[in-house]
């Protein structure tokens, strides 16, 4: 049980910290949260800065163009960038955290050479075409079909909850290549260019007001067979590689952000008199214990990952379950502190409160995560 960082890790932190101090002021002003093209420009500019400084793809393997950093260094990176107020991955989320690592792990040499460098440089943005109207949490029931025709697949169907679809160049697409096979087989993973004829994107407005995801309609879109990552009909296994990355590391930086928000919240409460309300004060206190523990759980998961080759395990589900609820509690408490101002959409935290509602749904609902914990960690029988 050692929570001290090695000298090498502290050096890494110090170098990163000085680079952030010099580099962050060079960033253009933050775009409006609802302006997705603006956000793409901003996020990819940040990615380019990371690339030029040698921080792009920090935790990707070196032979994939990454830095081969240890999970602990990645943790330090997320900690420091969040503390410094640097942008999060944003529009590069799918490319850096899902599609990229999947191509790096499962792609051929040609595929890695074609797709990975532009993600690292911030030249190309990816989106995720997994969910369908009838296949959200029950991903294996997806129906979008791909029929082989010479060197191409002809893809027809529709996708939904496709984050960043409007501004993406590529889509990591799950399609059914063998309708006769059992549900989890017969699925393949394709890289689909978003400008291919037959792709129609219709943005979906969220309850938070933004259009961060979209519906996508695919009408006989031709995707080269060479764009398939992994074997035909082996896409489910390929996808599980991707999802373990998503659940394991996607929320690390956000815990740091929540701790910062909590401190700001306490400051506001002291200023406006809410601090004298013992119920509210104790609620803030409990959140302090909660987010501190979640940070320790993160360190625990990272220590485990470091010793299992870097692929995060099922510990990610435990973390995500607790974190998603804690985040909602944080912003509900913020609304209590704000009082009537919580009804003002222009006030700080109001938009975050709305966004927090998605955390128990996205990337596997809390109910699905509880099934995963019960069946895969606790070994309870599958059933209804």
């Amino acid at each position: 049980m050692d929570l001290t960082y090695t000298e090498e890790e502290e050096d890494f932190r110090a170098r990163l910290r000085s680079w952030l101090a010099v580099s962050l002021p060079k960033l253009p002003p933050k775009p409006d949260p609802l302006d997705w093209p603006g956000r793409r420009t901003y996020d990819t500019a940040w990615q380019r800065m990371l690339y030029d400084a040698g921080y792009a793809g920090l935790h990707w393997p070196v032979d994939a163009g990454g830095q081969g950093a240890t999970p602990t260094q990645h943790l330090i990176y997320l900690d420091e960038t969040e503390r410094a107020g640097a942008p999060y991955v944003g529009a590069n989320f799918v490319g850096l955290l899902h599609a990229g690592p999947t191509v790096a792990a499962e792609g051929t040499a040609e595929q890695r050479a074609r797709w990975l460098p532009p993600v690292l440089r911030g030249d190309e943005v990816w989106c995720q075409g997994f969910s369908e109207p009838d296949a959200g949490s029950d991903l294996a029931s997806l129906r979008t079909k791909a029929v082989r025709d010479g060197d191409s697949y002809v893809v027809s169907g529709s996708k939904i909850w496709t984050s960043h679809a409007e501004v993406a160049d590529w889509c990591e697409l799950l399609v059914r290549t063998d309708p006769q096979a059992p549900r989890h087989r017969g699925i393949s993973w394709l890289a689909m260019p978003m400008d291919a004829p037959g792709v129609t994107v219709r943005p979906l407005r969220t309850l938070a007001g933004s259009a961060e995801f979209a519906e996508m309609f695919l009408d006989e879109v031709r995707v080269p067979v060479a764009n398939r990552v992994g074997e035909e009909n082996d896409g489910w296994r390929v996808t599980m590689v991707t999802l373990s990355f998503e659940r394991g590391t996607a929320f690390v930086g956000e815990v740091v952000a929540c701790r910062r928000t909590l401190c700001e919240l306490a400051r506001t409460a002291r200023r406006n008199g809410c601090w004298d309300d013992a119920v509210l004060r104790r609620r803030l206190g409990r959140l302090n214990a909660e987010f501190r523990a979640l940070w320790r759980l993160t360190q625990w998961n990272v220590s485990e990952a470091q010793n299992t080759g870097g692929v995060p395990g099922t510990g990610g589900s435990v973390f995500k379950l607790r974190y998603s609820h804690a985040r909602q509690e944080l912003y509900d408490t913020a609304a209590e502190v704000l009082g009537p101002d919580a009804m003002d959409l222009d006030r700080e935290w109001t938009g975050d409160r709305l966004s927090s509602l998605s955390y128990t749904i996205a990337a596997g609902t809390s109910q699905i995560q509880q099934n995963i914990v019960a069946e895969r960690i606790l070994g309870l029988p599958k059933g209804r």
Binding site: D2, N288, E304, N371
Partner: protein, 306 residues
């Protein structure tokens, strides 16, 4: 940074788990219930011989010279097994009260529960903790102590009027949290095992999502508490220790309640061990630091960080 247990720490934990499995299995547990929680002196001495109480004493004082992280692992095992007796108080008294370190004497503490002393009739000494120091008292010096019918069948309690107040010692808080953690882990296991065996409507009840979700939440609470307790043992930061107690109390109490729910009617009987975990968890939840006190400490930390 490697937060995981070292090989030595794992070996230490395994050693005590095996000792308790052999010496304090279900039969011994129920025997302890039958004698209303009085301490098994022979087992107490065996724990002393195994270094349970002297663990953190320096080697030249007959201890093992180990730290709070190791002590936490041992107290977690004690909590799993529902081992009874004033474990934390005797551990704290080792090196100060003669006979505590080797388990020859049973030492309780007068300031861990407001107005109540556990295991008072059984104890050779009751200590009052003032800050880092201690003052020793004998049971005869507190003639007003009255025995009450304890909620927890494994912890006899005496009420003392105007019981002394003292600020809680951080290590006492943390070791109690470690016991809660062990109890939370154990009730999770019990629920999972029962849910996998008990059949209703033609299938194990663990196949039903409603039961699964209870069990999953038990594990989530336990693992969050574990991260908090282990980290607090390493940092020895008082706010972190108080937070660990808060989360471990919740994991133990809610875990036992959920376990009782999974056991259904059987869980409500005296025969099942679930109620013993719940009652002890309730009691420990009031020891040293209550949830309200811990939350105020957290709030204070937030305010002073501004």
């Amino acid at each position: 940074m490697d937060f995981r247990l070292t090989d030595d720490q794992r070996a230490l934990r395994t050693g005590l788990r095996e000792l308790l499995a052999g010496r304090f299995g279900r039969h011994a547990l129920r025997a302890a219930v039958d004698r209303e929680g009085t301490v098994d002196r022979e087992l107490w001495r065996e724990l002393g011989a195994a270094g349970f109480f002297a663990l953190r004493l320096p080697e030249n004082e007959g201890g093992a010279g180990l730290g709070l992280p190791e002590a936490v692992l041992l107290f977690e095992e004690a909590g799993r097994a529902l081992l009874n007796g004033p474990l934390v108080a005797t551990h704290l008294a080792a090196g100060r009260v003669p006979g505590a370190a080797d388990g020859a004497r049973v030492v309780t503490c007068a300031t861990q529960l407001r107005g109540l002393i556990p295991h008072f009739g059984d104890a050779d000494a009751a200590v009052v903790i003032h800050g880092a120091g201690m003052r020793i008292r004998c049971p005869e010096e507190l003639p007003h102590a009255r025995r009450l019918r304890s909620l927890d069948p494994l912890t006899p309690l005496h009420r003392i009027p105007d019981g002394p107040k003292a600020p809680p010692r951080p290590d006492a808080i943390l070791l109690t949290a470690a016991e809660q953690l062990g109890s939370a882990a154990r009730t999770t296991e019990m629920a999972v095992q029962y849910a996998g065996e008990r059949e209703q409507f033609g299938q194990p009840i663990g196949g039903f999502q409603a039961v699964k979700h209870l069990c999953a939440q038990m594990l989530v609470r336990t693992e969050v508490a574990r991260a908090a307790v282990y980290a607090a043992a390493v940092t020895e930061d008082f706010t972190e220790i108080a937070g660990a107690k808060l989360l471990a109390d919740e994991a133990a109490v809610q875990g036992a309640r959920d376990c009782l729910q999974v056991f259904g009617g059987m869980g409500f009987t005296w025969e099942a061990d679930v109620h013993l975990h719940l009652k002890r968890a309730w009691l420990r939840g009031r020891m040293w630091l209550t949830a309200a006190e811990s939350e105020e400490i957290q709030a204070e930390a937030l305010a002073s960080a501004l």
